[in-house]
Symmetry: C2
Subunit: 394 residues, 2 copies
């Protein structure tokens, strides 16, 4: 009976992380496994006031069918904000509102990928992107990322051998590793892509959440004609609204709008109006700085606890922003086996293997620090350190 | 440069109706061209109260990431409502919340259609479905619909020659024609589909909006294992929330959830909570009966005006519900030419050709009566009658 399905859907990997999260739901488990923003920071009261104002002032319009491209004022706001904050010139007509960045990935895949087209992905990389492009039966070409950014030698080899259709990059505080591309690395990647037919997807859900260091140049600035920039309010305001956007060159935008219309006509217009009202009536940057302050302190607490409780020889990244930190165990130490031990000790994380293509055993793991307070981080990392020591002693 | 795009996106037709609607936006034009629900009937105040309650009672949860399948209480409500109102047994686990029915079409197409797979569509039929399935490069097999329903002879021929993957049907108050399938016609269609590998998509956005006649048996009741039922709150509460659902057999549901996750993780959870709150705190059926009363009166006004002002020899459907009515001009009279004449006389409609595959000139047209009050309908149909007389005299 399976033969009734399309070839494309049989290729899509299930989310291993969803399975992990089911285990981690036990309240006695300290979980670093999630990927959620901290709900204590949601501006609930401000959202309520914004919703009331929208409904009282232009409720009927906000509740009616609307434009496929998105709420005009919200697109104008985004265009202006890129100019003011990032010296980036993005036309209002080059911004399409989507159901979160995930839909951006789906739409870009849909309009660009034929079966077996080559796509460059980061390794380790974001599982949601792999899922989205799997639907269109892409051939994945992993390029390792380090604290510097993409492995330029490897990228160069792929670019000359295959001229890939897409490169998928999360240059700021990457999920899962927390790394950011250096300025030199961005220049080198841009050099390889410029004047090619390859399109680079710059996925930037965490860019606003910088605790330290200085902002780096966006690919959209370096190679505007070859870059599709994805943004999102999920990490800076609220995730449940599913509000993201794509900024793309004209030729891409035209097809994206057709694909968006066929996919769901348009994104929830009421949600767009409420977010626009929220941003207009409140100090958005002050709200973001609150998130930064909390996540930054929690990152510091996690790094201090790691130094205190982990045995020597364990590597970790030191993210300048975002929500995740990446741990590298000694070679040949399985993070999946560690997970099984750790869960008994009531601490959870995501083993590294789902972030690679076709790997079953790796010595890496992802820790999330956005949802756990400093004291609990200390206790949890202590438990995890114990579990690592036990495993190393075996 | 066009070569960078996927084959699938080049096949998708643009929406001609969007172009028409741009012309009809002139406020001196009486427009029967739209396909929108009447915004005067939106329960704005009740939605506001529901939004406030959700945010005050469980705001942080409603604003967080959520389950791909949808808000549990909303799915339970739908399952119960189908049982109570339609004697239909749909398990909660067989209901997936989508971004309107349009996303339901996209997801079903995505998990089922390989290139050139045969799809049966109604003729005339809903353009949004044609768009959604075009993305997956289906081969369309139009089957004429009349006041009885589908042309059974034609369907039988296609079923035996091609065993199509999908049949797309809007059996209640179809868009564009307003027709409904008779009980006998449903039985005959079901007989052809039962025990085949064909899946029937029963798209039912208007089913609740019945002015007269009695409810007919759902395909989901007749052939449950072969039916995917699509529903929506767009026509009964508000469209901008983009809230619809798919009810599907287990084997289909499993793949739909994977596809939904890859497409956008989940539907706006806040919107789902607000609609559930609205339905729980208010008399939903009373609200629906208000819509029925207004649309029913407007349909009556339109039919009376047609009888009064149209010359003899013009056919029209008499919908028992929904938002649309279908006019058939004498043979060889072009509705597109009539449109050009009518727009000068300040009245607009949608010519019939976009509702057919590959037709440029037809003698049919769609009239919408949901958004125009009775007096304006009288004036508009008078103008349209004049335009028809002038065209017939040429």
């Amino acid at each position: 009976m399976n033969s009734i399905f399309s070839d494309r859907i049989t290729d899509v990997p299930k989310s291993f992380i969803r399975e992990i999260l089911k285990i981690a739901v036990d309240p006695s488990v300290i979980s670093f496994a999630g990927g959620l923003p901290n709900r204590e920071l949601f501006p609930v009261e401000e959202i309520k006031q914004a919703a009331i104002r929208v409904l009282e002032e232009y409720g009927r319009e906000a509740l009616q069918y609307s434009k496929t491209e998105g709420h005009q004022e919200l697109r104008e706001y985004l265009s202006q904000r890129y100019k003011d904050k990032h010296r980036l010139d993005l036309g209002v007509e080059n911004i399409l509102i989507t159901n979160g960045s995930q839909q951006g990935l789906d739409l870009v895949g849909k309009i660009l990928l034929n079966r077996t087209d080559d796509v460059v992905i980061e390794e380790p990389g974001y599982l949601g992107a792999i899922q989205a492009f799997s639907v269109y039966r892409a051939t994945f070409n992993p390029v390792p990322v380090s604290e510097e950014g993409m492995d330029i030698g490897r990228l160069q080899t792929i670019m000359s051998a295959k001229s890939p259709k897409l490169i998928y990059a999360v240059p700021n505080f990457q999920n899962p590793s927390g790394i950011s591309y250096s300025e030199a690395n961005r220049q080198a990647v841009a050099e390889l892509v410029r004047d090619s037919n390859t399109l680079l997807i710059e996925d930037d859900p965490y860019g606003d959440l910088r605790f330290e260091g200085v902002e780096k140049t966006s690919f959209k600035k370096l190679i505007p004609d070859n870059t599709v920039l994805l943004g999102s309010f999920s990490k800076t305001i609220v995730p449940s609204f599913r509000l993201g956007w794509i900024a793309a060159p004209d030729r891409i935008m035209e097809k994206l709008i057709i694909a968006k219309q066929a996919a769901d006509l348009h994104t929830n217009n009421f949600a767009q109006c409420v977010i626009h009202r929220y941003i207009t009536d409140n100090d958005f940057d002050r709200h973001i700085s609150k998130i930064i302050s909390v996540y930054g302190s929690q990152r510091n607490a996690m790094i201090e606890s790691i130094r205190q409780y982990f045995p020597p020889g364990i590597g970790h990244t030191s993210p300048e922003g975002g929500m995740f930190l990446w741990v590298t165990l000694p070679e040949h130490v399985s993070s999946m086996k560690l997970f099984e031990k750790a869960i008994i000790d009531k601490v959870a994380f995501v083993p590294g293997h789902p972030f690679y293509i076709d790997r079953r055993e790796v010595n890496t793991l992802r820790l999330n620090y956005s949802c756990v307070d400093e004291e609990t981080i200390n206790i949890g990392i202590n438990r995890l350190g114990q579990a690592i020591r036990e495993q190393l002693a075996e």
